[in-house]
């Protein structure tokens, strides 16, 4: 699958919700467990700029195509945060710049030193580290797309489902970029494959793990991916990853659910 970066940048728009009838949430609000999940998603989307930072200190940036992607990706994710913040605001949940700042400040030294760790690892490992980043990005975007689709199905609210469908469509284009990059960088490179496999197996955790509490991660995993239908989605993501060079047989998503006691 080729990825057309020119088309991606040309078509990149902020997600739109002005045409959707979301105001009826005032009469028919979402249940608390969905609000909790939306809040998680919103915070993770706004946190993208910090992920961008962690990628920019490695050799993942510098190439025209990667830089172009990151510029658009970062903005699209920011707007996912804005869209979800709007839905939350209709439920009386306010997300503003001050709160986001407080959350980032509270993450403390682990967050502040994240770029240091990334930069050192990248300098030590060299170019193969980029393959890990791309694979990691693909895994996160696959799960994001699946999560939005699942929430749309679970809630069955037509306007919300449409908004989540639009967001998921953008996440799917991000998947295409990361997966194409990962595939190209892993193919024929056993060292990169070994490194990437090791990183996914030992260091990967569901997106949001570093910034949200464990309870929140478990809630979201259980809410979206608990039960047989949820597990089907998760297994599909594992299969996508397993098809990338050197990743056969990895089941990181299913393992993460099992570790958190989320029943299939």
């Amino acid at each position: 699958m080729a990825f057309d970066i020119d088309k991606f940048t040309q078509d990149s728009v902020r997600v739109n919700w002005e045409d959707l009838d979301l105001d009826n949430f005032r009469e028919n609000p979402l249940p608390p467990e969905s609000i909790r999940t939306l809040r998680y998603m919103c915070d993770v989307e706004y946190h993208t700029v910090c992920y961008l930072r962690d990628m920019l200190v490695t050799r993942s940036h510098g190439e025209g195509e990667v830089n172009a992607f990151m510029t658009m990706w970062n903005r699209e994710e920011f707007w996912h945060g804005e869209a979800l913040a709007h839905v939350l605001s209709l439920h009386g949940v306010t997300v503003n710049y001050d709160q986001l700042k407080d959350r980032r400040v509270k993450l403390g030294w682990r967050d502040r030193l994240a770029p240091v760790k990334q930069s050192l690892l990248s300098n030590i490992v060299g170019k193969d580290f980029v393959a890990v980043h791309m694979l990691w990005g693909a895994a996160n975007e696959w799960s994001a797309a699946a999560a939005y689709k699942r929430l749309g199905v679970l809630e069955g609210h037509p306007s919300l489902a449409e908004l989540l469908r639009r967001i998921a469509a953008q996440e799917s284009r991000h998947v295409a970029f990361y997966a194409t990059q990962a595939k190209a960088r892993l193919a024929g490179n056993p060292k990169a494959q070994k490194l990437a496999r090791f990183a996914l197996k030992n260091a990967w955790a569901p997106v949001g793990s570093g910034i949200m509490t464990d309870d929140e991660v478990t809630h979201v995993m259980g809410h979206l991916f608990g039960g047989a239908e949820g597990r089907k989605e998760i297994n599909a993501i594992d299969r996508h990853i397993g098809r990338l060079p050197g990743m056969e047989g990895l089941t990181i998503f299913a393992d993460a659910l099992d570790a958190r006691g989320v029943a299939a």
Binding site: T9, Q10, Y46, V49, C50, L52, R53, L56, V57, R59, H61, G62, N67, A68, M70, T71, M72, N74, R75, F78, E82, A85, T94, V95, N96, Y97, D98, L100, K101, R104, V105, W109, R112, L113, P115, V116, S119, L120, N123
Partner: protein
């Protein structure tokens, strides 16, 4: 999302301006002079360096400032399309030459890419959020000289108007943001003021760190050597001097003076 008073970041993020090739009459921009093309290339390369600048801010406590990162996210998007439009104009003129880094520039780049982010992350996080004041002052200086460069390039080659005018309008908003942020943050504490003044003192002309002076100098001479431009430069400097604790500063004139004296030495 709510926003505090001053520059309306929220409204800015909602109304980015993206210059698209398809909206430009490129055929009308064929046959531009060498000085114009060298200037556009210099500006295009500066705009392409946006993510590198963003990285240097994001590894510091500035990354926690969600108001600033919302701005940067939109700013990077606008800069991307400015660079793309300039590239289209350069392509139309078959101008493929780019400013290559010197050996020293390569060393600096590799240092900036591989060592600085780590060192800065540690140093600035120890200094704390006062560091943001310096970043905002530098952002202002970069935007002011970009604005002045585009405006002057448009004066010297009126055919560029259709490309330059929207860019100047984009830069106006960037200047407005940085003035607002820098004013608040420089006044926030004595340490912020000190770090801000140091940032202004050590500020470098954008796009002059890696390439040979031979690339940037002719561009600056072309744009700013004429005495009639002095008033515009002074006006830009006065926006910096109006910031808390920076009265009397004229960093842009000083930087141009350094280029001029270096140019005289090389001749």
């Amino acid at each position: 999302m709510s926003d505090s008073a001053g520059f309306d970041v929220r409204s800015y993020t909602r109304t980015p301006r993206s210059l698209r090739r398809k909206d430009l009459d490129l055929a009308a921009l064929q046959g531009l002079g060498t000085n114009t093309l060298l200037t556009l290339r210099h500006l295009q390369q500066v705009e392409r360096g946006t993510l590198r600048l963003m990285r240097d801010l994001l590894v510091t406590p500035t990354h926690a400032e969600s108001r600033v990162t919302a701005f940067l996210t939109t700013w990077a998007y606008e800069e991307y399309w400015i660079a793309d439009a300039l590239e289209a104009v350069l392509d139309e003129n078959n101008h493929t030459e780019v400013a290559h880094s010197t050996k020293l520039g390569e060393l600096r780049r590799s240092w900036d890419d591989r060592v600085s982010p780590t060192a800065d992350a540690i140093r600035t996080n120890l200094l704390g959020s006062d560091i943001v004041a310096g970043h905002m002052a530098v952002g202002l200086l970069d935007s002011l000289v970009a604005r002045a460069s585009y405006a002057r390039a448009g004066q010297l080659e009126p055919r560029l108007g259709a490309v330059i005018d929207p860019i100047v309008a984009i830069k106006d908003r960037h200047v407005e943001f940085y003035v607002d942020e820098a004013s608040d943050r420089l006044a926030a504490s004595p340490a912020a003021g000190r770090l801000g003044r140091r940032a202004v003192r050590t500020w470098r002309w954008p796009g002059s760190r890696y390439g040979a002076p031979g690339y940037v100098q002719p561009v600056l001479r072309y744009l700013f050597a004429d005495p009639s431009v002095r008033a515009d430069i002074d006006a830009a400097d006065s926006q910096v001097a109006a910031l808390p604790g920076l009265a009397g500063a004229h960093p842009i004139r000083q930087a141009l003076g350094r280029f001029a004296s270096r140019g005289a030495r090389h001749r």
